[in-house]
């Protein structure tokens, strides 16, 4: 017989609404004057009017020597060279693919900046141009690196390493780009049996564990064998753990994900979507982080 889950409204946990928060230092909102001193340089999130420097977004003022910036809490993804991103092919054009990367404009992936199957390095012929849709077609997901930023802010990507390329079976998850911590590596093989790619653009890819020696083929040989049930559960649990962290605005990197995963083992995967269970998991993580001083 089907069971019905009934909860009180109070269990959804709106308690943090009542208490007043103390305001953080150096907080500005749009239109605020940051300084009237003309000796400073205008950075992101600011504009100059009547010789005064104003903020244009809500956030904390950051000063590096003479440069003043204001960083908002969340924005679209601002690309930087060398970032790992995950994107979806939305168009096949002349010698290039258009890729959606949660950025202000669609990114481009040039035919000349992908590894062709077989890994041979040669000039791209017309033959290759005709086969473009054969390599990557609309709707495919790829992992790539930002190669260059063009004048209008459009990103140019490349996948010229075997760790990048088309993504096979797994789960995509989209969170705010500001929650992803910049680290040396964004590819993690987690001990729980799944691997994870944390795209700097806020897209996270969770897939069954890959064998780094044999499976890094740039994604041209796809493994379409059914994923066993226990691996699927691990992937789903990781997804819900990351969602829980993102809901509570916690920074996401390999350690915090593993903490969340381990804290979530007390609950079933399905229960993790409930707000009250989520906040319980977050409490556990915060306690553990304080204890270990990370």
């Amino acid at each position: 017989m089907a069971t019905v889950d009934i909860r009180f409204v109070g269990a959804r946990g709106k308690k943090d609404n009542i208490e007043t928060v103390e305001e953080i230092q150096n907080l500005v909102t749009p239109g605020d004057i940051i300084t009237t001193d003309t000796g400073f340089m205008r950075g992101h999130g600011t504009f100059m009017e009547n010789e005064k420097l104003h903020a244009s977004v809500a956030g904390v003022v950051e000063r590096v020597n003479k440069l003043i910036c204001v960083k908002p809490l969340k924005t679209r993804y601002n690309g930087e060279i060398g970032d790992v991103v995950i994107g979806r092919i939305i168009e096949v054009c002349q010698r290039r693919w258009k890729v959606e990367t949660h950025s202000k404009l669609n990114s481009v992936l040039m035919l000349s900046s992908v590894n062709l199957p077989g890994g041979e390095l040669r000039r791209r012929s017309e033959e290759d141009e005709k086969l473009m849709r054969h390599y990557l077609k609309e709707g495919d997901l790829i992992s790539a690196e930002v190669q260059n930023i063009m004048g209008d802010g459009c990103l140019s990507l490349h996948t010229r390493s075997l760790k990048y390329g088309k993504l096979g079976q797994g789960t995509l998850l989209s969170i705010s780009p500001s929650l992803i911590k910049r680290r040396k590596t964004h590819f993690h093989n987690l001990p729980c049996g799944a691997s994870i790619i944390l795209g700097n653009n806020g897209y996270v890819w969770i897939s069954p564990n890959v064998n780094e020696e044999t499976d890094n083929t740039g994604g041209y040989e796809q493994n379409l064998e059914p994923v066993p049930n226990d691996v699927r559960i691990v992937v789903a649990r990781l997804r819900n753990s990351i969602l829980a962290l993102a809901d509570h605005h916690m920074i996401i990197y390999d350690t915090s994900i593993m903490y969340a995963y381990e804290a979530s083992l007390l609950f079933t995967v399905k229960d993790m979507l409930k707000p009250e269970v989520t906040s319980e998991i977050i409490d556990l993580i915060q306690q553990r982080m304080e204890l270990e001083g990370t």
Binding site: D16, T20, V21, E22, E23, I24, L27, T29, P30, G31, D32, G45, F47, E49, H54, S56, V57, A58, G59, V60, P72, L73, K74, T75, R76, E100, K104, L105, N106, D152, G153, H248, H249, M250, I251, S256, I285, Q286, M289
Partner: protein, 247 residues
């Protein structure tokens, strides 16, 4: 005004406010997860939701794309259950189309548009309950949503309406006061520089009284600004406090 006294001899309005008092304002930022920015505002019984998407690639026809600045796209809709009498359709009628254009003009002026050439910002506004001052509540909600989305603005954009009854200007008029047929002035300003972004007047008002009513409306805008600013500061502080403790 048959039988309806908008301003009593003691100086009280129908809902018990004095002539210079706003309705109660409550607002929240970040109400949707999927949108880049979102906000909800209640001004008295007028309730409005706003969602902002973008800046993103221009959707639809590429002919609309602007080479030097961002395209601001607005959509104003009123829920069918928002008014006393059920509406036939939520958008597409003359009134909503006009409102959409007004919103577009307002935010074209306030967003720093030259930062994002060849892209588009979508602002969706939905009126859930309408009790006068729909445009004002929509502008205020959209401002909060834009700030939540981290889109650069020259300043907050605050809108407020004012009426004129018994030689007294009244601020933030409700549906009852609006429908009486008296003069109504809707003002949108950038509160810090006091520049007027948008001004609309319905019905006739004597020229001598215009500046009086305009002053009251601008004062109302600045009061609204104080409330919105408080809400933004609380929201930003709360979120960054959490982020800081876990880093």
């Amino acid at each position: 005004m048959a039988g309806l006294e908008l301003l009593s001899d003691q100086g009280f309005r129908i809902d018990g406010r004095r002539s210079h008092e706003l309705r109660k304002i409550q607002c929240r930022l970040g109400v949707f997860k999927q949108a880049d920015g979102s906000a909800y505002i209640e001004q008295g019984n007028t309730k409005v939701l706003a969602a902002v998407y973008g800046p993103h690639e221009v959707k639809g026809s590429r002919a609309k794309m602007l080479q030097d600045k961002v395209l601001v796209n607005c959509q104003y809709s009123m829920a069918t259950f928002s008014t006393g009498e059920r509406k036939r359709r939520p958008r597409g009628d003359r009134k909503s189309t006009e409102m959409t254009m007004h919103l577009k003009q307002t935010f074209d002026a306030a967003i720093i548009t030259n930062l994002y050439p060849r892209s588009q910002i979508d602002i969706y506004v939905e009126v859930l309950q309408s009790d006068g001052g729909n445009y004002c509540a929509s502008v205020n909600a959209a401002t909060l949503a834009l700030i939540d989305a981290g889109i650069p603005l020259k300043d907050y954009v605050c809108a407020c309406s004012a009426g004129f009854v018994n030689d007294t200007p009244i601020v933030d008029i409700s549906y009852l006061e609006e429908s009486g047929g008296g003069p109504e002035l809707i003002v949108t300003i950038l509160p810090k520089s006091e520049q007027i972004v948008f001004l609309e007047q319905n019905s006739r008002l004597h020229e001598d009284n215009l500046s009086k009513v305009l002053d009251v409306a601008s004062k109302g805008c600045k009061d609204i600004y104080a409330i919105l600013d408080r809400a933004v500061r609380d929201h930003v502080s709360k979120v960054s406090n959490v982020a800081n403790t876990t880093e």
